[in-house]
Amino acid sequence: MRRFNYLLGWSERGAILGLPALAPALRAPLVALACALALVGVLWAVQQARLASVERSGAEYARRLTVLTVEIARVRALERDRARLNVLRTRVETIRRSGPLHAGEIAALGDRLPDGAWLTSLRVDRGSLTLEGRGARIEAVAGAVSGLARLPAYEIVRLLSVRAESAGSAVSYALALDARR
C-alpha cells in the first residue's frame, strides 16, 4: 500500500504564503521609511487639530464681536451726545461767568485809583477801554496812570487828556487802556 503525504514541508509553506524573504540588509531602512511616514502623518494630524482649534476660536471671537457691534455703536452715540452736552455746559459756564468777570474788571479799575482820583465814566470799545474822571490834584492823575498800568488785563495805558477845571484846583482827565492780546 502506498502512502501519500499531503502536508507540505515547512520550506514549501513559506513559499506558498508569499512572505517576502527580505534581505536582512533592507529591514532597517524599511523600518526607518515606515517611521518617517508615520511621523509625517502624526505631524499633519496635530497641525490640523491646532489649526481647527484656532479657527474655532477666531469664529467665536468674530461672533461675539458681531453681537457687540450694535452695543458699541450705541455707546459711541452716547459718547458723542455727552461730548456735545459738555461743550454746551462749558459755553453755559462761560456765559454765567461773564457778569462777575466784567463787574470784577470794573471793580479792579476802581481799586487801582489812588485817593483823590475818581471815575466819572467808562466806555468799552473793541477791547479798548476809555476812562474819564476827576482828580483833586494833577498828582492824583499820575497815580491813577501808574496804578492802572499794573492791571494784568491791560497792556498799555494812554493818557488822552488832563485839564484843570475852571473852578478850584481840581482836574479832569481821560485815559485809554488797551487790552492785552
Partner: protein, 195 residues
Amino acid sequence: MTDAKLLRLSAVLIVLAGYVFVFRSGEARIGAQAAANAQTAQQLAEGERAVAERGSLERDRARLRAGLRRLDVVREAGALVARYVRDAAALAAERHCAIVAITGNGTQSSAPAGPPAAGGAFEAIALETTVEGRYADVLATIRALSGSPVLAAVDVASLSRKNPNTTDATVTAVLHVALQRLAAASAEAADARAR
C-alpha cells in the same frame, strides 16, 4: 546605489518634506490665524470696556441734560425776552437799582463760541440794558444778570455818573446782553435723542 541606501534616503527626504510642507506651512497658517484672533480679541476687549462704561456715560448725560433743562434756553424768543425783562427788573430791584431801558437791536445770531458741530446750538438775542443805581449796587446787578435762569451773556458797554457835576453818586451802566436760546433744530434733535 544599493536598495538600502535608497530606502534610507527616501526616509530622510520624507521627514524633510514633512517638516517643510506640513510643519512649517501649518505653523504659518496657525500663526496668521492666531494673530487675527488676537486682533479680534483686542477689539472685543475694547468694545466690552466701552460697553461696561455705558452706565456711567448715561449718568453723565442725564446729569448734563438736567443741568441744561434747569436753564430757560428752549423757549420761543418772545417768551424768553419777556422772562428776561421780568427777571432783570426783579434782580435790579433786589439790589436797589433800576432798569431804566431795555432796547432790542433786532439781531439774532448763532453763538460764536464753541464748535458748531459739537453743540454750538445757541442762538443769541441781543438786547441793550441800561441800569441805574449806586456804583456797588450796579456792579452787583451786573454780576446777577448773567446768573439768572434765563441764560444771558453780559458785557459792559459803558458806565458813567448820571450827574457828573453834582454830588449825586448814581451811575448809569449800559450793558450789552445776549440772551441765549437753543436753536429749534438742536432742541428737536436733543429731544429725539432723549427718546
